[in-house]
């Protein structure tokens, strides 16, 4: 699974690299405008639907979450298997939509609508939009069923004694995410079906020339896709909440507030979608309300950030690579999050909508938030899953390359966007050249950083040293396994949970188990 995902990730990164290359100098070099449109659509569709949305839940949710709550498996293992194949089918459909089978020979004919498929353009373009929509629908189905599976698992299969406020915070993140997957995805699913029918039969639902309303498409699309942003970030925040206490050797500050802020982000996330439509022609009252509501998301997010920082205060901070990634994310996501607040204001958004400013905001939040934390989790749980350890020094170098790269790549875009560089253009005025060139250099740095990181992890997996059972001195249940990697049915015996997830005393974990009987021996 993760193999597939990271393959797609690399494909999408490469497409982005190609776009950056094209944008290095003004004018068309080796890509015309149509190809560029298809390239950013390909990049968006793969990154969003094939990598980021399924990424953390499918990789860590499946492997780590049952271990964390002391379950032998998820509630419906066969359904889980089924969603895996749905995902593969979705990927195959998405890839076939790349190619045009109707014309003479084979040429690339991917959708050129952007990943949002806005009507009416998506209904009129001649590219393979229908296949792409079907792929997104199938992937959505996989996402719904995974969410359903996790919800039932978390409700039913927690170890005896573990109530909701004794769950590790990553499980809270997954739990909030699962509700979004369950309730929001069907809406976009049916919207995509309507768009397909519309394109095929010309009903006119979203086509103003036939009496329909294209803004309705945007509403229906963002009712899902804005919560989907939180669907991406919440499990990532969960990873952060695991890593910070472990590498500060301190109990997490404000456990309940972090847990409940995940839930409230999921809740508030449903009622803010309208801020994507400030320039689409909504009424002023609706705009004002959506803008007002949007600010509320910043509150639980801010609570989380303060809690994390308060956890580190007077902690015994150990700067291993997972912690580095987490700390880097605090910076990059803070930039991404705060610039989000500026474009939640209607006035500023009218100016910045569809510029590089929003592109930079989005990538700081998603690359600097979700993907960075995904990598943090990857380094954190690597010894758990493989039983081996990667080279710590190389891992740190990879982090610094990525961290420098992301800032070089995206920060100039804030400025370019502020001065009016529109997104999704394959050409630009000469005065923007300098920003694009700095970005281009940043892209190369990130690319190198990613390569180093993946090579390091692969090398660690193949012939790394034995990691031991609990290399990070972590406290949560997934580390209390008799072997590393864990045995086939997770815990040999299910423990009784009468402790909080992050109990440290003088920098050492409090709870200890006899791994034969899983009874506490501290």
């Amino acid at each position: 699974m993760r193999l597939f995902m990271f393959t797609f990730f690399l494909v999408a990164v490469s497409t982005a690299m190609l776009m950056r290359l094209e944008l290095f100098a003004p004018g068309a070099q080796f890509m015309d405008g149509d190809t560029f449109n298809q390239a950013f659509t390909l990049h968006g569709v793969i990154m969003i639907f094939l990598f980021i949305i399924p990424g953390i839940p499918a990789i860590f949710g499946n492997i780590v979450m049952p271990l964390m709550i002391g379950a032998k498996d998820v509630s419906f293992p066969r359904l889980n298997w089924f969603t895996f194949w749905l995902y593969i089918v979705g990927c195959i459909i998405a890839l076939t939509s790349l190619f045009n089978f109707t014309g003479e020979g084979l040429d690339f004919n991917f959708a050129d609508t952007g990943w949002t498929f806005y009507a009416p353009y998506s209904l009129n373009t001649g590219t393979n939009v229908i296949t792409t929509l079907v792929a997104a629908f199938v992937l959505g189905m996989a996402s719904i069923l995974t969410g359903l599976n996790f919800l039932v698992t978390i409700h039913r299969l927690r170890a005896p004694g573990m109530d909701f406020f004794k769950m590790p915070l990553f499980v809270w993140g997954i739990y909030a995410t699962a509700w979004i997957q369950l309730l929001a995805t069907p809406v976009v699913g049916i919207t995509l079906v309507l768009a397909i029918l519309e394109k095929y039969f010309g009903i006119g639902i979203f086509d103003p020339a036939k009496g329909g309303d294209p803004v309705l498409f945007q509403h229906l699309f963002w009712i899902y896709s804005h919560p989907a942003v939180y669907l991406m970030i919440l499990p990532a925040f969960g990873i952060m909440s695991e890593i910070i206490p472990v590498f500060s050797r301190r109990e997490i500050f404000g456990y309940r507030t972090i847990a409940l802020s995940s839930a409230s982000i999921a809740g508030i996330g449903y009622i803010v979608w309208g801020h994507h439509l400030f320039t689409s022609g909504m009424s002023d009252i609706a705009k004002t309300i959506f803008s007002f509501l949007t600010f509320f998301v910043a509150i639980p997010t801010g609570i989380k950030f303060y809690d994390w920082i308060a956890t580190m205060y007077k902690g015994k901070i150990i700067l291993k690579s997972p912690m580095l990634w987490a700390l880097g994310t605090i910076i990059t996501f803070a930039i991404g999050g705060l610039t989000g607040v500026t474009i939640a204001m209607i006035g500023a958004d009218i100016h910045l909508q569809d510029t590089y400013y929003s592109v930079a905001h989005f990538h700081y939040a998603i690359l600097g938030g979700v993907v960075f934390l995904l990598f943090a989790g990857l380094h954190y749980w690597f010894p758990l899953v493989t039983g081996k350890m990667y080279n710590e020094g190389t891992a740190k170098i990879a982090f610094y390359l990525n961290f420098i790269g992301i800032n070089l790549l995206w920060f100039p875009m804030f400025i370019a966007g502020y001065y009016g560089m529109p997104r999704r253009y394959f050409d630009y005025l000469p005065e923007f050249e300098i920003y694009h060139q700095i970005s281009g250099v940043g892209a190369v740095v990130i690319f190198v950083g990613l390569t180093v990181m993946f090579l390091n992890l692969i090398a660690g997996w193949r012939n790394g040293e034995e990691s031991g059972l609990n290399p990070w001195h972590a406290t949560t249940l997934e580390w209390h396994c008799p072997t590393s990697p864990p045995p086939l049915e997770n815990h040999s015996k299910v423990p009784y949970v009468d402790f909080k997830p992050y109990e440290y005393h003088h920098g050492e974990p409090v709870v200890k188990f006899d791994y034969e009987t899983m009874k506490r021996i501290d």
Binding site: G70, A71, K72, D73, V74, S75, F76, P77, I144, L148, N149, L151, V152, T153, H155, R156, L157, A159, P160, G161, L182, L183, A184, T185, P186, V187, G189, I190, T191, V193, L194, L197, E198, Y200, F201, G202, I203, G204, I205, A209, K210, G211, G212, D213, L216, L220, I223, K493, V494, P495, Y496, D498, T517, M518, K519, R520
Partner: protein, 235 residues
């Protein structure tokens, strides 16, 4: 499933023993999962009803005119058929729980029969509409030609065929599920002591008829007054 599964025991520090809930044979987990799945169906149809409501306010008169041309007798008959089928399905579940496997199977067959009747009536309706030139992809439902209907009517019929089509698709899936259920009962995999599958399929069938209970008035009944619907039009 779950016949030889022995639940594990977790022991707390003071020696108390607690039964561990496994994923095997988790009746309530199975029920919860299916209820959640039903919730996704509600969201899906909910989005379509939202679209429908929105266009009803935009094209009020067109919707009422279009609705008036639907056959309310066939639609009403189908509503009754589906309501009875929900009854037989529920009775089947009651019989299964009280241990009357044979009676339960009979009731499931009755439900399948009623579902087929429903689809048959639906086919008659769609054929009649097709013969009147009203169907997805036909000229009347495309704009910009001599046969085109008004915008609102095109939208109405587009949504009508989409939603009743999707509903019919759910009926077909339901028939498949019920036939599968009967096979499982025959193979002794679904028994009065272990009938989660029966329970969930009954739940599914309830939702399918419930959706129709909303589809029917929204498409068939809004034009039930006279041809103009007896209202003053905003548009």
């Amino acid at each position: 499933m779950g016949h030889e599964y022995v639940p594990e025991i977790a022991t707390s520090r003071d020696g108390k023993e607690y039964e561990v809930q496994g994923w095997q044979g988790d009746f309530y987990g199975g029920k919860l999962g299916f209820w959640l799945f039903m919730l996704t169906e509600v969201m899906m149809f909910g989005a379509m009803f939202l679209t429908l409501t929105y266009y009803f306010t935009l094209h009020h008169a067109d919707f009422i005119n279009a609705s008036a041309s639907l056959n309310r007798y066939l639609g009403g008959f189908n509503t009754v058929v589906l309501l009875i089928s929900a009854l037989t399905m529920g009775l089947g579940l009651l019989k299964m729980r009280s241990g009357d496997v044979k009676g339960a199977k009979l009731m499931i067959w009755a439900t399948i029969l009623l579902a087929i009747v429903f689809l048959g009536v639906k086919a008659v309706e769609w054929t009649a509409e097709y013969n009147h030139g009203v169907f997805l992809g036909l000229d009347a439902l495309q704009s910009g030609n001599a046969h085109s209907k008004a915008f609102g009517e095109i939208l109405f019929f587009g949504m009508y065929f989409t939603m009743t089509g999707l509903h019919g698709f759910h009926i077909i899936i339901g028939i498949g599920l019920m036939i599968w259920l009967i096979k499982r009962i025959n193979a002794n995999k679904v028994t009065p002591g272990h009938h989660i599958l029966h329970w969930n399929i009954a739940l599914y069938w309830d939702l399918v008829h419930l959706i129709w209970v909303f589809v029917f008035p929204y498409f068939y009944m809004i034009g039930a007054g006279d041809v103009t619907g007896g209202v003053t039009h905003g548009h």
